[in-house]
Point group: C2
Chain length 431, copies 2
């Protein structure tokens, strides 16, 4: 289907709820299911566009909150938009800033975890103290116990403090869309409030309803002004509703009916992997098949298989690149053929000190073609920047290859077998 | 002239003392005068071999002391030597470890500056408290005022403490050559003691004489065992003698007579640029023309012109890459055509916030072809790794281009004009 001027999403195959698709954008095609590499500050840390091209990265995700604060959206706009600014000629997504306003703004500056005071008159309830989720996009908006108000949410706007210099700023749906017009990503997101697993159903429902009103304002703002950089943009509506079935289904239905060209599943996805699966199911069951679907902030191997099976097309996650920078190398099997529990090894381990093999002998990435485990270990032990770069290349290539294998399995109708082979291997593979 | 098996140094032109040369090595040709990029820990920080190839870097310099401690010379040897270990197929130099043993070993661990206690019975005198020199290779071996002995120098050996874990180690001339055989650089250096500007003539002379005895031991060790990695290596003798004419000339004559295939000018080069010029002159006047000459630890723009004029062929220096990592961008002219005093600008400066021009509009490096000053400034302000990489590419390209221009001027016999245009510009250039 055409998803708006300059965009088209073709579903090539459907297997159960899973889809093999192709999203055409003004900066090229995204084969789906596809992983979106995170480049928060208009750089996928340590990598150039040429590196990303060689890796097979199709699309990247930059953060509106960060770029608004530094260098400033007007500067990015003056420099011709994100693509020109960062010398990346492929598709780019930006989030709306909503997530970071609620989570990062306060927590980075004050080191008190993810805390957000709510504007007088809107008091959230909390029902638990911990969350089983690990994605940073899932834990937000807790109430500070009588502390200084750091983020204030009202019907009209969100006020927040910069984590860089403590200056005060305001985001509204209109401001967020305006900033994302300036930044000029291909795919942009509606401004939402991302609730926390600590919020109860009443607060989550109230918040979701406000997010729906903000979604309408985002659509109106989006249609009220033209793209600034000579190519169209596509706006994603974001489904909220936490892990409460009634609220989540209602949010999915409401957002889907607003006429967004694309949809994203956001917010609190519950406290367990099982919760997350249900939240995706509830969301997907209430939305039409045609628009592309993005799952926000998810991206480990297990999650990707589960999300694809449930009908998600794209997913962004910092974990492959963050793990890379901490010496966590993505691999499917250990050297003896044993499946690796978390699909990674720590290359700092002493057993790699003299290991002349590439990180993964089966991998075709630049790093595995030219460097030994011993060299990577040395670079990490010696705190050398090149370590982070070479490991990031490998991990992003791993994700690109995983998604390519998933796409091929969907084409061949062997997705179930591929998923089982990865997630429930019955015996060591010869690898 | 043939400088030993596998090596040949051809002097293509001689202009006064300056030479335009070509050094053939087992890993390719070095056009001289040529800049040697520093890759201390078997990595030119943030860059790959492919980056260095594109930049035009001909040869790199790695540090024996660092690699001996981490990952260990035996590990590098097991992995096939430095070239294979770091995936760099061009010429590599290593130093002998002597310099770092005297300077870094103690200073990094204890944060007390460059201090070395001398073994009982060998007491250095000091004659000044400050040095005008900025090169880290020039200030060493000062006496700790009654502190713990960190480095002990005797006729036979140097004992030192690892800056990484405090473990004790011993270097001798034989051990240094053995380690450099394991590391497998093309060009290796004799083990020397690098004296300080604070040492008086008596101590400097005693030290130089010991360095000469060590040089003989290095030659004997070098000829007593074969290269380990299937290609020959070339050993540089190092001229010491501080900034004392008699001692320096004597050292140059003595080292030159030992039959080294190549010679390096090392140690304390005095307290001023004028001192350094004299030290180079005294050294060069006592040595034959045929062997290639390396000037250790020198490499700013002014120094390179002066060293080339005085007959040096190669020079290594951390400053272009270290400056790059600190946002110091090498350029000849400011935007108004004014020559830049230190040949660099700080790209963090607010005036670059919206500057869409490349770092240097006349530069053909990868960074200047694809990125704006505004983007580089953003990356530095946001503490992004890519900043260091893009700036390092530019600064090393600047050095490569400077040396290429110097070579061309020597060929055309216009070196004096080129030097004057760079160092004493009479009017703003149109740039």
């Amino acid at each position: 289907m055409s998803t708006g001027e300059g965009f088209q999403f073709d579903i090539l195959q459907t297997r159960g709820r899973a889809r093999r698709g192709r999203l055409h954008t003004p900066h090229g095609v995204i084969e789906t299911p596809g992983f979106v590499a995170v480049g928060t500050q208009a750089t996928v840390k340590s990598l150039t566009a040429e590196d990303l091209e060689a890796i097979g990265t199709q699309v990247i995700f930059a953060n509106t909150y960060h770029l608004y604060l530094r260098p400033g959206a007007d500067i990015v706009a003056d420099l011709g938009g994100l693509h020109r600014f960062m010398h990346f000629d492929k598709p780019i997504m930006t989030d709306s800033g909503g997530f970071q306003v609620f989570s990062l703004g306060a927590s980075i500056e004050h080191g008190v975890g993810k805390i957000a005071n709510i504007f007088p008159g809107e008091t959230p309830s909390t029902s638990a103290n911990t969350s089983a989720n690990t994605s940073s996009r899932k834990q937000v908006s807790q109430r500070a116990g009588g502390g200084t108000s750091l983020v204030q949410v009202s019907e009209d706007q969100v006020r927040f403090k910069s984590h860089i210099d403590g200056s005060m700023h305001v985001f509204t749906p209109e401001i967020s869309i305006g900033i994302q017009r300036q930044l000029g990503a291909d795919m942009i997101l509606a401004f939402d409030e991302c609730t926390s697993p600590l919020h109860d159903e009443t607060y989550t429902a109230q918040s979701a309803e406000r997010t729906h009103r903000w979604a309408q304002r985002c659509l109106a703002a989006f249609h009220s002004h033209q793209p600034q950089h000579g190519y169209p943009q596509m706006l994603y509506g974001i489904i909220q509703g936490g892990a409460f079935e009634r609220v989540r289904r209602e949010s999915a239905k409401t957002i889907a009916e607003m006429g967004f060209s694309a949809l994203a599943i956001g917010g609190n996805l519950g406290k367990t992997k099982a919760d997350m699966h249900r939240v995706i199911d509830w969301s997907v069951e209430e939305i039409p098949a045609a628009p592309p679907r993005h799952l926000l902030g998810i991206g480990d191997v297990v999650d990707i298989f589960e999300a694809v099976e449930r009908g998600c097309d794209t997913f962004d996650c910092v974990s492959p690149t963050r793990n890379a920078r901490n010496a966590g190398i993505l691999r499917r099997f250990d050297d003896d053929g044993t499946p690796l529990a978390k699909f990674r090894v720590n290359i700092r381990n002493a057993r790699f000190a003299r290991d002349e093999r590439p990180l993964d002998p089966a991998c075709r990435c630049y790093t595995c073609q030219h460097y030994s485990r011993a060299y990577l270990r040395h670079l990490f032990k010696a705190h050398e920047i090149l370590a982070q770069r070479l490991a990031s290349i490998h991990n992003l290539h791993f994700m690109a290859q995983l998604c390519a294998d998933i796409r091929e399995a969907l084409e061949q109708d062997t997705f179930a077998e591929l998923k089982q082979a990865w997630l429930e291997p019955t015996q060591p593979a010869n690898h």
